[in-house]
């Protein structure tokens, strides 16, 4: 598999970016022809013409000059190809990250994140050999043999014909052998992938294996599988190396053939030694780019895999295109009205949200309940502008949300997720996400209100303690209190809150409840609720079922109606008076 021209251009990896490398490569070949011509002249003058050193000194000095020139050209060729690859990768990485940010969290969620991280880091790095080696070679692989063939043609048309005739055989046979080998290689591939996974499994599952008394027995399995792995790999390689064998065989055979023909024609006197030696010196150079092209095929295939994935990411259309001249989001308190809002995920037929009509008056608390998959997260994503409603309308203080620029709108919202992401950095930096210019005392004030100060005080370096990947580990309750602190610092009029589904330790539980109480004073709140206390005290409980709003009202009213809410609520519950 290779990267198509279209994909390459889309990624900014068209041949144009290696144009300087190609130019230097072509110049180098021209200089190489000159070098070989000078060398053959010197040898011929001494051997055939019986010249002394003194007479060939001009030629030798010219030769030395060419060598220096070639060293410079080779350096320039390799450097410009490498630099082009570095530039292209940097550009591409920025583009992909930008696009991912535009696609938003609705695209980059769940198990996909690991794969996306790999695509934007290692995936892009893997394009390096593709750009720096394979890409220039696709042009030079044609240009260099052509230049050399022309040079040989000026001296000896017989050899030139031999060169031109043998060249096409190489790719032809390679394709033939390649496709024969491909079948065998594919067969082994799946087995190989499984075997290599087994080793990682065994290491990670060691405690389990030991607990079952299988730790030692597994050693025999590892040994068997490792040897099996080796044998299978060798079987694959036996075929994979075949195309190399064909390539080498034809080039070496062609060199031998040309050498012997030249020898025989020298005997008959139909060619001079000087010309014959020049042709002989150039012959290996004629085949060299073809050999190198074969070596870089691996880079091409690896690059194609990452390249195609990146192109796919970039081709994903952004769900909410930024309105060109969005109106500013209304200042002050926020009132939300949802009028028959629907959303259907691309490629699905069933809507995730269907005709949801709902009002969130200023300063009220609304609790959203429903089973998982009932559309609660979709509704949050639509409200935050990460998804654009496919039907209906959302009004912000009477202004349609679709006319407000998403970034502008998000500046008016605070969101406290169930599992907030902790960024690699200090506690203070993590809280300051909610106000980048915040002073330390403001950060501490927010942490205090969020009930986070008590655990921050117990950390070795308090607000400067590093958290996130490789830093101190925080419990779920502690992480959520940091997210609440972010919300205090941001001070937005609309608060969206996703309550934890699981047990928290009793202390976190109490602190979060108190913090939430303070946070929602004077603000409009929508909470995806999992805790009875939150639900009982809400101004309005909204019940979602399969994307539809089936019921709304206060706790007592809903329970009395005996509908969906009372079924969700369960029979054996204690109901507060």
């Amino acid at each position: 598999m290779e990267m198509t021209r279209n994909v390459a251009r889309q990624l900014g990896l068209g041949s144009r970016i290696v144009a300087p490398a190609v130019v230097f490569g072509v110049l180098n070949t021209a200089a190489l022809v000159a070098e070989m011509w000078l060398l053959s002249r010197v040898v011929a003058d001494v051997f055939v013409g019986h010249d002394h050193v003194a007479t060939v000194v001009p030629l030798l000095s010219l030769l030395a000059l060419t060598l220096v020139l070639r060293a410079a050209l080779v350096t320039a060729r390799d450097a410009s190809a490498g630099l082009a690859a570095i530039r292209a990768r940097g550009r591409l990485r920025r583009r992909v990250i930008d696009h991912l940010l535009a696609l938003g969290p609705a695209y980059a969620r769940g198990e996909r994140t690991g794969e996306l991280v790999a695509a934007t880091t290692e995936g892009i790095d893997r394009l390096d050999p593709y750009v720096s080696r394979y890409l220039p070679q696709t042009i030079l692989g044609l240009a260099i043999p052509l230049i050399i063939a022309v040079a040989v043609l000026t001296q000896d048309w017989v050899s030139a014909t031999l060169l031109l005739v043998t060249a096409p055989i190489i790719p032809l046979l390679m394709i033939l052998v390649g496709s024969y080998a491909e079948g065998h290689i594919q067969q082994q591939w799946e087995a190989l992938a499984r075997l290599s996974a087994h080793f990682l499994d065994a290491l990670q599952g060691l405690p389990t294996l030991k607990a079952f008394g299988r730790g030692k027995a597994e050693q025999a399995t590892i040994s068997r599988i490792s040897h099996d792995f080796r044998d299978r790999t060798m079987r694959v390689l036996r075929f994979a190396f075949l195309s190399g064998l064909v390539l080498e065989f034809i080039t070496a055979g062609a060199i031998a053939l040309i050498a012997v023909t030249l020898g025989v024609r020298l005997l008959s006197g139909s060619i001079s030694f000087e010309r014959a030696f020049f042709v002989l010196l150039l012959t290996p150079e004629y085949y060299r780019p073809l050999r190198e092209l074969g070596q870089h095929r691996h880079a091409a295939m690896e690059g194609a895999v990452s390249g195609n994935r990146l192109a796919e990411i970039l081709a994903t259309p952004v769900a909410s295109p930024q309105p060109d001249n969005g109106v500013p989001a209304p200042a002050g308190p926020i009132r939300l009205e949802l009028d028959a809002v629907s959303y259907t995920y691309p490629g699905r037929s069933r809507p995730a949200l269907a005709d949801v009509s709902l009002a969130l008056p200023v300063g009220t608390r609304t609790a959203l309940v429903g089973r998982s998959g009932s559309g609660k997260s979709t509704l949050l994503n639509v409200l935050m502008g990460f998804l654009t409603a496919t039907g209906g309308e959302i009004l912000v203080n009477g202004v349609p949300l679709s006319t407000i620029a998403p970034e502008e709108w998000r500046s008016r919202i605070s969101f406290v997720p169930q599992r907030p992401h902790l960024f690699h950095g200090s506690i203070a930096e993590n809280i300051a996400l909610g106000g980048p210019e915040a002073r330390l005392d403001e950060i501490e004030w927010a942490a205090e209100l969020a009930g986070a100060m008590d655990f921050i005080q117990s950390l070795p370096e308090r607000t400067t303690t590093l958290i996130g990947d490789g830093g101190a580990r925080l419990s779920g309750g502690e992480a959520q209190r940091l997210a609440i602190a972010r919300a205090f610092l941001k001070d937005a009029p609309l608060v969206l809150f996703d309550e934890p589904t699981s047990n928290l330790d009793p202390r976190s539980e109490t602190l979060i409840r108190g913090a939430l109480e303070r946070l929602t004073q004077g603000r409009t709140l929508l909470v995806v609720a999992h805790r009875l206390n939150t639900i009982y005290t809400a101004d309005n409980i909204v019940v979602l079922e399969e994307g539809r709003l089936v019921e709304q009202g206060r706790h007592a009213d809903l329970l009395g109606s005996g509908g969906a809410y009372s079924r969700l609520h369960g029979p054996g519950r204690l109901v507060p008076a």
Partner: protein
Amino acid sequence: MTTVVRVLSFLRPYRLRVLAAIALGCATVAANIGLVAVAGYLIAAAALKPALLALSVPIYLVRFFGVTRAFLRYGERLVSHSVTFALLAEMRIWFYSRLEPLAPASLSMHRTGDVLARMVKDIDELENVYLRVFSPLIVALVTASAVAVLLGVFNLWLMLVAIPFLLLAGLGVPLLGRALAARVGEDLPHIRGELSAQAVDSIQGMQDLLIFGREASVRGRIAALERQSGSVERRLTRVAALQSGIGDFLAAGCATAVVTVAIPLVTTGRIGGVYLAFLAVMTLATFEVLQPLATVFPLMDRTRTSGDRLFEIADSQPNVREAAQTISAPLDIDLEFSHVSFAYNADMPPVLDDVTFSVRRGMHVAVVGASGSGKSTLLSLALRFWDVDAGMVKFGGADARQLTLDAVRAQISVVMQEVALFTDTLRNNLRIARPDATEADLLWALDTACLGDLVDRLPDGLDSWIGEQGLQLSGGERQRLAIARALLKTAPILALDEATANLDPITEATVLSQLLAAATDRAVLLITHRLVAMEEMDEILVLDRGRIVERGTHAELVDSRGAYWRLQEAQNELFAIT
């Protein structure tokens, strides 16, 4: 250097194959040089217009080299790769055998999943040590020396003029690379790591970033890191380009120098003019074997880093060892903790503090408490993944430390909090617990764990592949599979650590009651923070910061309105179904 030597020492059983690979490598290079060099001689000799018969030997040699070069190269690649993969296989087997006694206690200072994945990559990294370091070095040394000697046979001056060029290309160019690039190159993994961490933050934390309008700062940070790594990479690229430019120059330069020195020798008749072309072409071709050496140093550094990481772990000592004299397995099946105290690290506060309890045949005991209260540590001590600091863990009255590790582990069947499944068939994943289990046993275990329908859903039933490379199971399915596996093991004690945390409440209750019914003649230890099926427990222990703060039956503990009651209240606060 010692690390590299130690890695290579794993090749000792494959001595002959290594020799064969090197011999083939040298022969390939010889054929390559021979082909063009003899061709040079051939046309020079032909120019003198001798009888065709006089040319038959060079013609034959040219054809011979032309045909054999490809096959020698093919053979060399096969043998050298088989040597490499043998090395990797030996390393994997050896490494596992070293790791087995260490896990998990002596590995706890390393972060698990990530480190293990890295070790797999580290072993793969050793692929280079033979293919791109050892073998090219030896082949280059042998062939370059041979060519130098051959030049010396023609005339000592030719050898003397060639040697500096050969040394510069083989040694000088790699050293130049190291001098110019090694220091900056060291920064690169660090910057790459930062870049990757930043990518993780910006993709996994995207929701938080966008809500707080921090896109610009992410872009800025990534651009800054990109600039940093770009400047290092540009330097490395320029150095590598310079190396190949100089390498090319040295090759052609050496040929020119050899010809220049040879000219007066030819004119004075000390060397036949017919050999001039031969000498020029041979010298030129020799340098091809030196060019791969440019990357030897960075590859050697990578080998060293990977090797060091592996050896560091493999050389550490297990902290749980078999007693010098062990007693035979106990007859009774009681598990007893007697005044057990334990800390993972002497500097840290104890995880368990004076814990005493026992579980007897037919008895069901639950240990409850918030996360971090020390519940899981009880299991690690019972399995002797660690040994107690004070007090005693006893099986049938005997100190666990006096039993063999195998005997201890034969006593307990566990479901661990982190379920490990293996990339293998469903059948083999279950059979880890009992290798001789019949089909009926397997189906019974799956049914009891409420997973009977899985077999029907899977394309190949019990023989379907699961795990990373196979079918992905949900968290709940994984847990139920682990429970089925634990049920299969014929151990008298069954221990479950948060084994039903990913199940919905209804399935959770069903699984637990079926499991307890199936284990009436076993001792069951249930570790959990969710209070489910507590009414069926003979004793409940409430653990708080390593101490047992309450114990009794469900009814007793609810009545006393203490820590247990508070846990239950917190749980009741959760809305039923989500």
